[in-house]
Amino acid sequence: MKKLSARRRHPLAAVVVLLLALAATGGLYAAFAPAGTAKADETAQSLAIEEGKKLYSVGCASCHGTGGQGTSDGPSLVGVGSASVDFQVGTGRMPAQQPGAQVPKKKVIYTQAEIDQLAAYVASLGAGPVTPKEGQYSPEGADIAKGGELFRTNCAQCHNFTGEGGALTHGKYAPSLEGVSPKHLYEAMQTGPQNMPSFPDTTMPEKEKKDIIAYVQAVNGDETASPGGLSLGGLGPVSEGLFAWIFGLGALIAVAIWVAAHTAKAKKS
């Protein structure tokens, strides 16, 4: 100790102490790092909620109330979960343009980061369906045939056999599923937006939702083949028959009239 004490005023002593202190700090940090990350996550989460609340106050509060409790113009958002927000805002349905029978899909005005912040805030109001991860909704490897069966049992009554959509009561309608992303399809089934009933995991497990998504992508995607030629909107036999009667028969009548209207005589009269 004497030796150490004698050297405590050595010019390099300060450097040694500094190094020791750094090593101790580093070791301590390494030992407690997990707790530290969790704390950092929590901070990020509360930051997202903070930011989300700001966005909410500007864009949503006029209809849904300052604390998400709902008003006469919009339903309560307590317990709708982040999946609902991700669907409604991510498809441009919210913020709504005007009240009416149904809020239509339109241009998305928030960035995905802002949508996540809004979702974090709304999720903090009460537990609800959580925004799905890619592994939950990705249709890769799903059973398309089984998905078709499930689609016809659960979805086809409103959305038509290939997801072309259809009319409901009083101006409401089931929208076309063309071009809807797998994530939004999943969220719609999980949360039941607007008048659509929900299909929670308890009655329709995650795997079945994936099958349905795979089916919709297969029959109503950009690359969907229509072996018979014009699909005519995929609306069923009525529109196909109507097309044949109006355009097919119409073309025959037009040709017949054209033939009869042009005389073959040398001297036209």
Binding site: T169, P200, K265, A266
Partner: protein, 350 residues
């Protein structure tokens, strides 16, 4: 029309209406006759006729080529080859080629024939007089005489026994045809009044084929169920599910307006027949906010929060409700069959 050969006295100028009575022709509706025949270019000009001949032959050759194309495409294209063709989209190469070639082959036969008939075949107008409809008086008289002779010889008017039994036989013969209609049966008996639902039968989720628990059914969700013991592989599956199909929704109990509906539900979980009471379409276009169910066939609308009352459309009565509860293992079960026949009304429904 101006050059038609109309008798002079039928033309307006031939009648002097200003002085005295109008002179009435013997027959004002006299047949004006055919207009004079006018030739076609092809009738006058042999070169034009040759051109037409070549055009017709050309169309027939095109038809031949299209048929060869049809056979070639059938051989060349595999069944599953999909190609993108604007503006048709992603179509089967085989179907597309077969359709067009066969269509063109038929079209050019028709177009060639029409062109042939219009330009080269004789186009001289011909009128054929109809022969008179009535038979000559001699034929008429002979027929009447023959009939009277035949009636007298048969003794039809004199032998009343034969006449009456013949009438009887003729009247009875159609009955055998009516009797055969029995083969359209057997009569449905009680089949229209009962379904597979019975006391204690579990509600099986049609997605997972697992029995449903009340906690599985969330407010605002829609689930379809079939009775326990029925399998999609059963030979009578379609017959049975057509009657037993069930739609299950959960409504906040305070939102249920009908007292019996609330009693027959389990904590707001209500089970209604999925078969429309108008003509029996499967009906499950459920709007979770209004609790309305719409039938896609004729727009009958039912309010599931008010005993599935008909609020719009041609349906005659509310959707039958299935009384449900929870068994001691915590699964949803039926408390019996529907208390009225499901689906459309029938004569003896009552």
């Amino acid at each position: 029309m101006s050059t038609q050969e109309i008798p002079e006295e039928n033309l307006p100028a031939g009648q002097d209406t200003a002085h005295g009575a109008v002179k009435v022709a013997d027959n004002p509706f006299v047949d004006p006759g055919l207009p004079p025949h006018k030739p076609r270019v092809q009738d006058i000009d042999e070169k034009a006729a040759r051109r037409s001949e070549r055009a017709v032959a050309f169309m027939f050759v095109l038809s031949m080529l299209a048929t060869i194309g049809f056979i070639a495409s059938y051989v060349i294209f595999p069944v599953d080859k999909i190609v993108y063709i604007w503006p048709f989209g992603h179509v089967s190469a085989l179907n597309f080629a077969l359709g067009w070639t066969l269509g063109l082959a038929l079209f050019f036969i028709g177009a060639g024939a029409v062109h042939w008939a219009r330009t080269l075949m004789s186009d001289v107008e011909i009128a054929d007089e109809r022969h008179p409809m009535a038979a000559s008086p001699e034929v008429k008289a002979k027929v009447m005489a023959d009939f009277a002779a035949g009636a007298a010889e048969s003794g039809f008017g004199r032998r009343k026994l034969i006449r009456n039994t013949l009438f009887g036989a003729l009247a009875l013969v159609p009955l055998s045809g009516v009797m055969l209609l029995r083969d359209m049966g057997p009569l449905p008996e009680r089949k229209l009044r009962t379904t597979l639902w019975a006391k204690g039968k579990l509600l099986i989720n049609m997605n997972t084929h697992e029995p449903l628990r009340p906690e599985d059914v969330a407010v605002g969700s829609l689930t379809f169920a079939m009775p326990e013991g029925l399998s999609e592989h059963d030979h009578n599956f379609q017959t049975e599910i057509a009657k037993a199909a069930l739609m299950i929704v959960r409504i906040q109990p305070e939102d249920i307006k009908d007292k019996r509906e609330l009693e027959w539900s389990h904590e707001g979980i209500v089970a209604f027949s999925k078969i429309c009471t108008h003509v029996g379409c499967p009906i499950s276009l459920y709007e979770q906010q209004t609790h309305h169910v719409l039938c896609p066939c004729h727009q009958s609308t039912f309010d599931l929060s008010d005993g599935a009352r008909v609020i719009f459309g041609p349906a005659g009565h509310a959707l039958p409700q299935l009384r449900i509860g929870v068994n001691d293992k915590g699964f949803l079960e039926a408390h019996g069959d529907f208390d009225e026949p499901v689906g459309p009304a029938f004569w003896e429904r009552g």
